[in-house]
Amino acid sequence: MTSELDIFVGNTTLIDEDVYRLWLDGYSVSDAVSLRVRSGILEQTGATAAVLQSDTMDHYRTFHMLERLLHAPPKLLHQLIFQIPPSRQALLIERYYAFDEAFVREVLGKKLSKGTKKDLDDISTKTGITLKSCRRQFDNFKRVFKVVEEMRGSLVDNIQQHFLLSDRLARDYAAIVFFASNRFETGKKKLQYLSFGDFAFCAELMIQNWTLGAVDSQVDDMDVDLDKEFLQDLKELKMLVADKDLLDLHKSLVCTALRGKLGVFSEMEANFKNLSRGLVNVAAKLTHNKDVRDLFVDLVEKFVEPCRSDHWPLNDVRLFLNQYSASVHSLDGFRHQALWDRYMGTLRGCLLRLYHD
């Protein structure tokens, strides 16, 4: 006796959250069944393995049919085939677009092209995430990227509108899209200590302050592309380190203000010129695409690492950066105050976030 056909269709589509998770995680039906058996569900419910098998198959089939709709979540809301309560629809969408930290760290800043897809095998082996799940996550990134890439308006809003994601997840996707389109390097060994959250935080600050959208909300790609003009202008900051008098004056202003307040004052005093040169040079280099990509590498190399090797506490870093930014306003010979603020305001936020072990 073999089962040829075995289906269950409810007027309200039944969604089992546990099975959905297993499906999203890319397990095959048989793996999912054995995982469910291990969870002790048979003992709890008195069901047999055959029942579990049939149930799992059924859910997998439903999810498979829903997947097409999940690719364009507004369709899921308007379709008539599956009657699903809104709270469940939200759950389906949210979980489908959720991603693994380990995976996103591997792909963040990479071009979302076919070439990268081949690397998914390696990522799967490296992270222990099933290839199927990697595919889904990668395809999600790519799909969102494709849809919002050339769209007018706020990146987060666009993502929310077209994918109906929660605010939190939409922000994450905005960061992924932003990183992918600017191709920031995140994979270097030096940057391994950074989490996706760190990068997402930086991305949000950069989107808010450094993109076209920061100055004009009526342009295409406003949140995705960095403001080229702004990057060009950053060259002007170079005088802060090139002009010796200015550098000295800047240093003395910072040192005076921070004397006695910093635990690592002497180290700061000794390193001031190096740090300042580092930060200003990063700015000046951003005209080149290549250097834009290396932004995070540079920041870590030029600032985070020196400070860390001197064991600066986070609070000292904060005091220093605040003073370092503010003191520029007192430099009479320096005319690009607004530019400096736009640059340093964002950079300060990023650096503080990046500064940890």
């Binding site: 006796m1 289906i7 269950f8 007027n11 308007h78 009657q83 809104p86 809003d157």
Partner: protein
């Protein structure tokens, strides 16, 4: 010019890409009704076209309006080649033809293609302007309401229940026409869908005409079926119960006003006397029904095959039997005589209803059934077969010309069967059959026709031509104790149609009752039941040799009696094993296949307080000398006894102990438990009476004389009870549970198994079939575990044998949650109530609120006590644990959906059309307005797609149906030539059933409804050919589209004053007793 049909095509969305080059579609729409076709403009390059067409107007006869479906075809325009069809929508405009139903059909319909399934949606508005037609020779029957519901619909009351209506229409099946060889599968499928749609329209119209002839205005319990007879054609047949219904105007009528019971009593709907020549009819006032007041009895059914075929069974009229010693006797006899006179004029005193207004059902005799095996090839009129020479070529002719007399053949077949049923009922001393249904099973050219029902004695007050004196009526009322009256035997105890074991009723101790009772109806609302009920199934397979035509039919007819006997024995044993004494909703299905017969009987077992406690099951061995064998036997016996004890506990069956003296000594008659009078015949020339009693021996003794019997006993014990928290039944409501909460989940589950070995034995087959059913049930319990505590209601199993080694089982049911805490309370009070009933004669006080409730809302699922309890507890603010959790849930759901709603609002501004649906939905469901209570906040109300509930039951728990919008009767075909790509057979059928649900919901929503009640999947014919990568499936569903309002929302409007009124007479929560 009796009608003008107006159609407007608004927009489309989610259309498929038809032009690969541009990834877009140039869509336009053809609107066709009858022979008239209109077209919209082509909307270039869009997947979401906005046609916004003018109003297309069709001027048509109302006859066509009833028969024809509106056909909407969406096409892709192609300049160089033929236009490609995207898909179709068929809209049945019948609901627009009743005055009270829907006034407009407007909404998004899935665009359906028989090869590709649903491909996008189209927004359509349909209206009908109907002119009054005074032509008395008219062929249309606009205005007759149809209901699938097998009880008086909730917002109506029955003025008169007229009786049985039937009709059938025969046509050639397009699938078997010669043209099918040259046309595409799509064209063939569409021809079939359209034909069936036409035929059901015609059938409905014809039935409507019969109803008008009987001066009724509605058909209740309308059941339409298709017989796919292959080469010999397509039969669409329908049965129903004609009624005159009156709409209940007061929306708050369902709340029992218990302050003035006596006054209310006089206003029970049935006091009008339809007959002007009766003597004084008491205080009743014949108000509204002058139109029905004179009623010459008509012969509305076909007379062709009837009257002269009176079968030799002599009807046992009660008069002069001299047996009735109790005071109820003479009245009973009188009543019977009158009922008889009322019913005798009808050819078939049958009622498709399964639940009745209180007082309608007087006595129940038992199940009557009849089967007949027919050969379909006989159907061909020999005349034309002779002319044409072979059966194939005649199809080249206009087949309408000689198909016209074919219905007569089928009519004659059914008339024979109905006649048998009628005579069986007479033999049981009954003059009517209730819960009547008909079915067929077809395999190749053999067809089994089956009919079954419950023989009953009815109260003539409800029947049009009944005459009853007011005073007699009054006295009868007093003498019929509530809750047990229907159990009392209708036949004469000294002149019984079959040997039966009778005792005095355990409830009233006045009348005789049988020891077990089998019925096809729902449990009467006023029946006194102890404990809970459960689903009981008997399953059986019998191998048969493959044979042709005549030989095959003979083989089948020879097997049938044995199958019936075994099914019956199994049912009886399982009932005993559960410790119960009555079956309701019994449905025995016999399915014929190439090489086997399958029998599946489903029923809901209960313990009726009126009937005696069932005895146990004894096992006896044939070889008593063998010691180890003895031991084995006693071991089995112990197991059985344990099971009975366990079941009694599980279903809370603890009847009050009654000493023998009170009951009186049983009538010394051989024990017998059959109420199932059946017969079958091949051509119905002779009727064979099968005595299902177990001869002279004590029937509860199971003799184990061979391994077969051993197997049987084992299989008895293998039925596993549902996991705790689950109950199941196949009736509308579960006896013993009455505090449903509002969560419902209707589902369909299909399983097909392939039998492995070629040389199967009956035992192996039985085991396979049994496992299939049991595993299916287990799967359901597992799937629905999140709803615990819940009850599977209206569990409907259908077995078919699509191929040699395939068995297909289809289950449709609804899971309803209930409140466990309250369940315990009410069952307790219920038992107390029945105890009290048994011990005191002071029933009337108790009786009033009960009657009132069910009067104002016939067969209301909740006893009034519970409503009081609920409103009382919610007023006094005693929050049950359950309520607290439900608040939590909804607030959680709110949180979950709040942001998605926000986004949706944004999204809507850029998405035209979606706003439209929201508006219709809100208009359709007047909810969300007065959400005074937190718990009633529906998380789904804000969805862009309105939620449409579906249920096989006639009610929606926790809600009141405010309007019936019309019948939904849909037929779909789906075919694929890429089975593997669509996920194999399971993927294919899963998607198809989901699509069928979607189309039903869309039609209901377009009518302005928010639920389908009495939903039934009448047919699910699945055929596959995996080698060719092909599959085909036909599905036929029906139900009633309704508008419902949650009681929690109604309360806001109406509770205040009625509850205030209630306070003096029934304070606090003590109403329950």
């Amino acid at each position: 010019m009796p009608g003008k049909l107006k159609v407007k095509i608004v927009a489309g969305r989610h259309l498929p890409v038809m032009d690969r080059a541009s990834d877009l579609t140039d869509a336009f729409v053809e609107v066709k009704f009858g022979n008239t076709t209109f077209k919209t403009d082509v909307y270039l390059k869009s997947l979401n076209p906005q046609w916004n067409s003018e109003w297309f107007k069709f001027e048509v006869d109302d006859e066509d309006l009833q028969d024809e479906p509106l056909q909407i075809t969406v096409l892709d325009h192609d300049t160089y080649s033929a236009n490609d069809a995207i898909g179709k929508v068929y809209i049945d405009i019948d609901p627009l033809l009743y005055s009270e139903a829907a006034t407009v059909i407007s909404g998004w319909f899935p665009i359906y293609d028989t090869i590709h399934g649903i491909r996008g949606e189209i927004n359509v508005v349909v209206k009908v302007d109907l002119f009054n037609d005074l032509n008395r020779f008219r062929q249309s029957s606009c205005g007759v309401k149809f209901f699938c519901t097998t009880s008086i619909p909730k917002c109506y009351r029955a003025v008169i229940i007229h009786g049985f209506v039937e009709e059938l229409v025969v046509n050639e099946d397009p699938e078997y026409q010669w043209i099918d060889r040259i046309r595409t599968p799509r064209a063939s499928n569409e021809a079939r869908q359209r034909l069936i749609s036409l035929m059901s329209g015609e059938l409905q119209r014809k039935i409507g005409l019969k109803v008008l002839e009987m001066r009724g205005n509605a058909v209740v319990g309308y059941l339409q079926c298709f017989d796919l007879e292959g080469e010999s054609g397509l039969v669409v047949r329908a049965i129903g119960t004609a009624c005159t219904l009156d709409k209940l105007s007061s929306p708050a009528a369902f709340l029992p006003a218990c302050n003035s019971p006596s006054k209310e009593m006089k206003e029970i709907p049935f006091n009008e006397d339809p007959n002007p020549n009766t003597h004084s009819s008491g205080p009743s006032t014949p108000l509204k029904n002058q139109t029905y007041s004179f009623s010459p009895s008509k012969s509305y059914s076909r007379q062709s095959s009837s009257s002269d075929t009176d079968l030799s069974l002599t009807p046992k009229t009660g008069m002069g039997s001299g047996s009735a010693g109790k005071e109820g006797g003479p009245f009973k006899a009188l009543l019977r005589q009158q009922t008889q006179s009322a019913l005798e004029q009808r050819e078939f005193p049958f009622f498709t209803l399964t639940a009745f207004p209180p007082g309608f059902l007087v006595h129940v005799g038992g199940v009557v059934s009849a089967r007949s095996v027919k050969l379909l090839d006989r159907i061909h009129n020999p005349a034309f077969v002779g002319i044409m020479g072979n059966t194939r070529s005649y199809k080249l002719l206009d087949w309408n010309s000689f198909n016209s007399d074919e219905p007569e053949t089928r009519d004659a077949w059914w008339a024979e069967i109905r006649q048998e049923i009628k005579s069986h009922a007479k033999a049981l001393g009954c003059h009517a059959v209730v819960g009547y249904s008909e079915s067929t099973s077809i395999c190749e050219e053999v067809c089994i026709l089956s009919a079954s029902g419950t023989a009953a004695v009815l109260n003539p007050r409800f029947l049009q031509d009944g005459t009853v004196e007011g005073c007699l009526e009054q006295r009868l009322e007093e003498n019929l104790p509530v809750g047990c009256g229907f159990c009392h035997i209708p036949y004469d105890e000294l002149n019984m149609p079959f040997p039966a074991h009778l005792t005095y009723c355990c409830n009233c101790r006045k009348q005789k009752v049988p020891d077990v009772l089998f019925t096809t109806i729902d449990l009467p609302t006023d029946a006194a039941v102890i404990g809970k009920g459960c689903l009981i199934q008997a399953r059986l397979c019998r191998l048969k040799k493959k044979a042709q035509a005549e030989a095959n039919a003979t083989a089948i007819s020879n097997l049938l009696p044995f199958m019936e006997y075994e099914v019956h024995t199994q049912l009886m044993n399982k009932l005993k094993l559960k410790g119960m004494n009555a079956l309701f909703g019994l449905r025995i299905q016999i399915t014929v296949g190439e090489n086997m017969l399958m029998g599946l009987a489903s029923a809901t077992g209960v313990y009726l307080a009126a009937l005696p406690t069932p005895g146990g099951i004894q096992i006896a061995g044939k070889t008593p000398n063998d010691g180890s064998y003895e031991q084995h036997i006693s071991h089995m016996q112990k197991k059985i006894n344990d099971t009975i004890a366990k079941n009694k506990e599980l279903y809370e069956i603890n009847p009050p102990e009654v000493s023998e003296e009170i009951i009186g000594s049983p009538i010394p008659e051989p024990r017998q438990r059959s109420r199932l009078l059946r017969s079958q015949s091949e051509s119905s020339d002779e009727v064979t009476e099968l005595d299902l009693s177990h001869g002279k021996k004590d029937a509860f003794v199971l003799e184990i004389d061979d391994t077969d019997a051993m197997e049987d006993v084992h299989s008895l014990l293998t039925d596993v009870p549902p996991p705790s928290g689950f109950y199941s039944c196949n009736t509308e409501i579960m006896p013993g549970i009455n505090n449903w909460t509002s969560e419902i989940q209707m589902f369909t589950s299909v399983r097909v198994i392939r039998l492995s070995s070629l040389n199967l034995t009956n035992q192996a087959l039985n085991k396979n079939f049994n496992d299939l059913c049991e595993n299916l049930l287990k799967s359901l319990y597992f799937k629905l575990r999140s709803m615990i505590p819940c009850c599977l209601c209206h569990v409907n199993f259908t077995v078919s044998l699509p191929e040699d080694e395939l068995i297909q089982v289809t289950v449709t049911a609804v899971a309803i949650t209930f409140d466990k805490n309250q369940a315990l309370q009410t069952t307790k009070t219920h038992v107390e109530k029945s105890l009290q009933r048994a011990s005191t004669d002071n029933e009337e006080l108790l009786q009033f609120p009960l009657e009132l409730c069910s009067d104002s809302l016939p067969s209301h699922p909740f006893p009034p006590a519970k409503e009081h309890l609920e409103s009382a507890s919610s007023n006094s603010g005693i929050p049950a644990a359950q309520r607290a959790t439900s608040v939590d849930y909804s607030s959680f759901a709110d949180r979950c959906s709040s942001w998605i709603e926000l986004i949706k609002l944004k999204a809507q501004t850029i998405r035209r059309g979606s706003i439209k649906t929201t508006v219709t939905v809100e208009k359709a469901s007047p909810m969300g307005e007065g959400n005074f209570r937190n718990r009633s906040a529906p998380p789904c109300a804000s969805s862009t797609v309105g939620v449409v509930k579906m249920t096989p039951l006639s009610f929606i728990p926790g809600a009141k149906i405010t309007k019936y919008l019309g019948i939904i009767n849909m037929f779909f075909i789906r075919e694929t030539t890429s089975l593997r790509e669509e996920g194999g057979v399971s993927g294919f059928l899963h998607a198809f059933i989901a699509e069928v649900f979607a189309m039903v919901r869309a039609h209901v929503a377009a009518l302005g409804g928010n639920a389908v009640v009495s939903y039934i999947m009448k047919q699910c014919v699945f055929m596959e050919n995996p080698n060719k990568n092909q599959a085909q499936c036909l599905i036929n569903v029906s139900g009633d589209a309704v508008v419902f309002v949650r009681e929690s929302e109604l309360e806001v409007v109406s509770t205040q004053q009625p509850t205030a009124n209630c306070q003096p007479s029934c304070p606090g929560g003590e109403v329950t007793t």
